[in-house]
C-alpha cells in the first residue's frame, strides 16, 4: 500500500484544462520530486492532494491515501487529515506565519493542539526542535523580524510538529540564497530517513539532485518525463528536460572574456552604509568597458546598496566613485530584480519607451532595432506592464536602457524571479548585447555558480 496514489488527476477552470491527466504513486518513506517551470501545474497537484484547491477550480480523478479515497470526502473529514496525516510546507513561509504571534509560540501550539502533548511536554519538544534547527535565539521573535531562511525553518518545525507522515514541500528554496538552500534541503532529506514520505516541488535541478528519489518533469500541465531522479538527470530523454538541466548554471560553459582596456568606472576606498549599519568597507576596484563583473554574497550584505552608490543614487560614507571623463550623465543604467516594478504601471510600454526616446533625441527606428534584437514582438508595446511576462519585461528594460546609450549597466539580481530556462536566455542576451555595444555590466547575484560561469571576475562580499 502506497502512501499516496494519484489517478488520472485533472484540474479545470471552467472548461479550460490546467493540469492533467496525471497519474503517479509514491510509496512509504519514498521521495518524489516534481520539477517544472511556472504554470506547469506543479502546485495544483499539491493543492489537490491536500484538498486546498481554490473554489474556482474543479478537479477530476482520484486521490488515494493509504488505500482510502480522499478526494471525495467532506470538507471536515478532509481537514481532519491536515497536520496529522498530510502536511504542507508553504511556498512563502514568511507570509504563512501569523505576523502577530511569536514564532516559537506557533510551533508550540502545534505540539500542544495538534500532536496532543501536555503543555509541559509541548514546551520541551518545542525547545528541542528549535535547538536542532538553530532557532533557539529567535524563539520570541515575531515573524517580521526573521530572515527568509529562519522563517523557512520555523515553518518546517511548525508543519512537522503534528507528526504527519506525508510532507508536501512547495518550492522550499524559493527566495532563499544559495547558502540557505543547503540547510532546507538537508532538512527535507531527513524526512524519508525518518520513515516519512516527501513530495517536493521545485524548479531547481541541484535541489532535485540532492533530494533524489523519483522524479516527474512537467510542462504545461502534462508529465513530460519520469523515472529515478538520478537517471533522468544524468540521461534525460525529453527535449524539455534537457533544456531544464542545461539551464542550471552548473552545466553552463564558462563564457569568454573579450573587453577593451578603457576604464569606465573606478572605485576607491569605498565605505557604504545604509542607515546606521556599515555594510561595506574599504572597497576598491576598476571597471572596464565591456567587462562583466559579478558581485555575490548573502542577502543583506549590501549588494544593492553598492549598486546604488555606483549609480549615484546613494552617497558613500567614505571614498569615491569616479566616472571616466566624458561620460554622459545617463551613462549608468540599472536593471531591477522585479521586472514589472521598473515600469510606470498605468501607461503602456510603448508610451514609456517613446518618452525615453524623445527625451534623448533617439530615433524610433533605432529603438525598434533594439526591440527585435532582443527577440521582442512590437505588439508588446501596446500592453501595460502587468500583462507581460517577467522575462519579456526584463528584455524591454534592456531595450529601454539601450536607448540612452549607456556605458555601464548595473543589474540587481535581474533573473532571480525568472524561471531557470528564461534566466539562462536572459543572461545570455545581456552578455551578447553588452559585448556588441561594449557596455560594462555589474551583475549582483546570490548564486556563486552564475557568477563563476557568466562573469569575467567576481567580487565576493561577506
Amino acid at each position: 500500500m502506497s502512501a499516496i496514489e494519484v489517478q488520472d488527476l485533472s484540474v479545470f477552470v471552467g472548461n479550460q484544462r490546467l493540469l492533467g491527466p496525471v497519474s503517479f504513486e509514491v510509496g512509504n518513506s519514498e521521495t518524489l520530486v516534481i520539477m517544472g517551470e511556472t504554470g506547469a501545474g506543479k502546485s495544483l497537484i499539491a493543492e489537490a492532494i491536500l484538498g486546498t484547491l481554490p473554489q474556482s477550480l474543479r478537479m477530476e480523478g482520484a486521490i488515494i491515501h493509504k488505500g482510502r479515497r480522499i478526494d471525495n470526502l467532506t470538507g471536515d473529514e478532509r481537514a481532519s487529515l491536515w497536520g496529522r496525516e498530510i502536511t504542507m510546507l508553504p511556498q512563502e513561509p514568511w507570509r504563512a506565519l501569523d505576523p502577530l504571534m511569536k514564532s516559537g509560540s506557533q510551533v508550540l501550539e502545534t505540539h500542544e493542539y495538534v500532536a496532543g502533548l501536555s503543555p509541559k511536554q509541548a514546551r520541551e519538544q518545542t525547545s528541542k526542535d528549535l535547538n536542532a534547527l538553530g532557532l533557539a535565539e529567535a524563539e520570541k521573535h515575531l515573524p517580521g523580524r526573521l530572515s527568509g531562511g529562519m522563517a523557512q525553518r520555523f515553518a518546517f518545525a511548525t508543519a512537522t510538529a503534528g507528526k504527519a507522515p506525508l510532507l508536501l514541500a512547495d518550492e522550499p528554496t524559493k527566495g532563499l540564497d544559495s547558502s540557505r538552500q543547503g540547510h532546507i534541503v538537508k532538512l527535507l532529506r531527513e524526512v524519508p530517513a525518518k520513515n516519512g514520505t516527501l513530495i517536493a516541488i521545485t524548479h531547481e535541478c541541484p535541489v532535485a539532485r540532492e533530494l533524489g528519489g523519483n522524479l516527474i518533469v512537467m510542462k504545461d500541465g502534462q508529465i513530460v518525463e519520469q523515472g529515478k531522479t538520478k537517471d533522468v538527470l544524468a540521461k534525460p530523454k525529453a527535449g524539455y528536460t534537457k533544456q531544464l538541466i542545461a539551464a542550471d548554471p552548473v552545466s553552463w560553459d564558462k563564457s569568454h572574456s573579450l573587453y577593451s582596456g578603457d576604464t569606465v568606472l573606478s572605485v576607491g576606498n569605498l565605505t557604504v552604509s545604509r542607515g546606521k549599519n556599515i555594510l561595506i568597507e574599504k572597497l576598491s576596484f576598476t571597471l572596464n568597458a565591456g567587462e562583466r563583473l559579478a558581485i555575490s554574497g548573502p542577502s543583506g550584505v549590501g549588494k544593492t546598496s553598492l549598486l546604488d552608490v555606483l549609480a549615484g543614487l546613494l552617497e558613500p560614507v567614505k571614498g569615491v566613485v569616479e566616472r571616466a571623463a566624458g561620460l554622459a550623465p545617463l551613462a549608468v543604467q540599472k536593471l531591477y530584480q522585479d521586472p514589472p516594478a521598473a515600469f510606470p504601471p498605468h501607461i503602456t510600454l510603448g508610451q514609456n519607451l517613446r518618452d525615453v526616446a524623445r527625451m534623448h533625441g533617439a530615433k524610433w527606428d533605432q529603438v525598434m532595432v533594439y526591440f527585435s534584437d532582443l527577440g521582442l514582438h512590437p505588439e508588446l508595446l501596446e500592453r501595460r506592464p502587468d500583462s507581460v511576462s517577467g522575462g519579456e519585461l526584463q528584455r524591454v528594460s534592456i531595450a529601454r536602457a539601450l536607448i540612452v546609450k549607456p556605458k555601464v549597466i548595473l543589474a540587481d539580481e535581474p533573473t532571480s524571479r525568472l524561471d531557470p530556462i528564461t534566466q539562462r536566455e536572459t543572461l545570455e542576451l545581456i552578455e551578447k548585447i553588452c559585448r556588441e555595444e561594449n557596455i560594462a555590466v555589474v551583475l549582483v547575484t546570490h548564486s556563486p555558480e552564475i557568477a563563476d560561469k557568466w562573469a569575467d571576475r567576481t567580487i565576493v562580499l561577506e
Binding site: 491536515w82 504563512a96 504571534m101 501550539e109 493542539y113 495538534v114 511548525t158 508543519a159 510538529a161 503534528g162
Partner: protein
C-alpha cells in the same frame, strides 16, 4: 516616531495634541471675545459677578485689573495663562463657575457617547462578520447597499428621521430632554447607527482579508481546528484594523455628540456649547469646547494603547 518606549511616545504625542487643542480653543475664544460688540470689561465683569451684582465701578476695576486698555497681544497672553492655570471663569448666563457646569454635563455626554459606541459595536460586529464570511453573497451585497444609504444621511438628519418614525408614527419613544434611561435610546441609536454604517464594512473587509490570508491557511493545514484558528489567530489579526478604524471614528463621535445633543435637547456638553455660542457666553464656550477637545485627545490615546496591546509589532523597535 521611533523610541525605546513606543507607549511613552504615544503619551507624548497626545500630550502635544492636548496642548494644541488648548491653544486653539483659547485663541478662538479670545477672538470671539474681542469680536463682540460693546464693552469687554462690562461683559467680563458681568460674567464674573453676574449681571445683577455688578455696576460701572466693577467694570472699571475689571478694566484695570485685566489691563483691557493694553494691546491685544498682551491681553491674549494673560487670557491663555489663565487657561493654563485651569481658570475657566464663570458662566455669563448662570453665574456659576464653568467647571461646575461642565462637571454636571460631562456625565450626560459620556453616557451618550458610550451608548452610541456600544450600539455601534453590537450592530457592526455581527453584521460585518456574517457579511465577511460569504463575500459577494446576498447578505454582503445587502449590507453594502444599506451601509451606503445610511452613511449618506448626516447624523442630525438621521436623528430627525428617527424622531419622526419612532415618536410620531409609532409613539414609542420619548423625544427630548432626559428623565429616564429610555430617553437615551433615540440619541444613542442615532449616533450608533451612523458609526455602524461604516464600521460594519471595516469589520467585513477585515474578516475577508483574514479568511483569505496565507497564515490562516497554514494554521489550518498544520492541523489547528477552525475554531482554534479563529480564536488564536484570526481574532487578533482581524481586530487590529477595526480598532484602528474606531480611532478614526472618534472625530465623528465628538462631532455627533454636539449635533445630536442639539437635536434631542440632551443636556450634555455639546448642547451646552451650542447654547453658550448663542448666548455669547464666552467662558462657557471656551470651557465646553476645551472639554470636548480634550475628550477627543483622551479617546485617541485609548485607541493608541489598545492598538499597542493587540499588535506586538508596535511594542518594541
Amino acid at each position: 516616531m521611533t523610541s525605546a518606549h513606543p507607549l511613552f511616545s504615544a503619551f507624548l504625542q497626545r500630550g502635544l495634541q492636548a496642548l494644541i487643542v488648548a491653544v486653539i480653543v483659547g485663541v478662538v475664544s479670545f477672538t470671539m471675545m474681542q469680536a463682540l460688540p460693546g464693552d469687554a470689561a462690562y461683559r467680563i465683569a458681568a460674567g464674573r459677578y453676574g449681571y445683577d451684582m455688578m455696576d460701572a465701578a466693577a467694570a472699571e476695576t475689571v478694566r484695570n485689573e485685566l489691563g483691557l486698555n493694553q494691546h491685544w497681544s498682551i491681553q491674549l497672553i494673560s487670557w491663555l495663562s489663565a487657561l493654563a492655570q485651569f481658570d475657566l471663569g464663570r458662566s455669563l448666563v448662570y453665574g456659576t463657575p464653568v467647571v461646575d457646569e461642565i462637571a454636571t454635563q460631562l456625565g450626560y455626554s459620556l453616557l451618550l457617547a458610550g451608548g452610541a459606541v456600544l450600539i455601534s459595536i453590537i450592530i457592526a460586529v455581527p453584521v460585518g462578520v456574517v457579511a465577511g464570511l460569504k463575500p459577494g453573497g446576498a447578505i454582503d451585497r445587502l449590507t453594502l447597499g444599506v451601509s451606503i444609504l445610511l452613511r449618506a444621511i448626516p447624523s442630525f438628519a438621521l436623528g430627525v428621521v428617527l424622531v419622526l418614525v419612532f415618536a410620531v408614527q409609532m409613539r414609542l419613544l420619548p423625544v427630548a430632554g432626559f428623565r429616564g434611561l429610555e430617553h437615551l435610546i433615540l440619541p444613542s441609536l442615532t449616533l450608533g447607527l451612523g458609526l455602524a454604517a461604516v464600521s460594519n464594512r471595516v469589520v467585513r473587509d477585515s474578516v475577508v482579508e483574514a479568511l483569505g490570508s496565507e497564515w490562516r491557511l497554514f494554521s489550518r493545514t498544520k492541523g489547528l481546528s477552525a475554531r482554534r484558528t479563529a480564536t488564536r489567530h484570526i481574532l487578533r489579526n482581524a481586530s487590529l484594523p477595526v480598532v484602528t478604524y474606531v480611532g478614526v471614528q472618534m472625530a465623528y463621535l465628538i462631532e455627533g455628540v454636539v449635533i445630536v445633543e442639539a437635536v434631542f435637547a440632551w443636556p450634555g456638553i455639546g448642547h451646552a456649547l451650542v447654547h453658550a455660542i448663542f448666548n455669547r457666553d464666552i467662558a462657557m464656550v471656551q470651557g465646553t469646547a476645551l472639554t470636548l477637545g480634550l475628550i477627543y485627545v483622551l479617546l485617541n490615546l485609548f485607541i493608541d494603547v489598545a492598538c499597542r496591546l493587540i499588535d506586538p509589532r508596535m511594542r518594541s523597535q
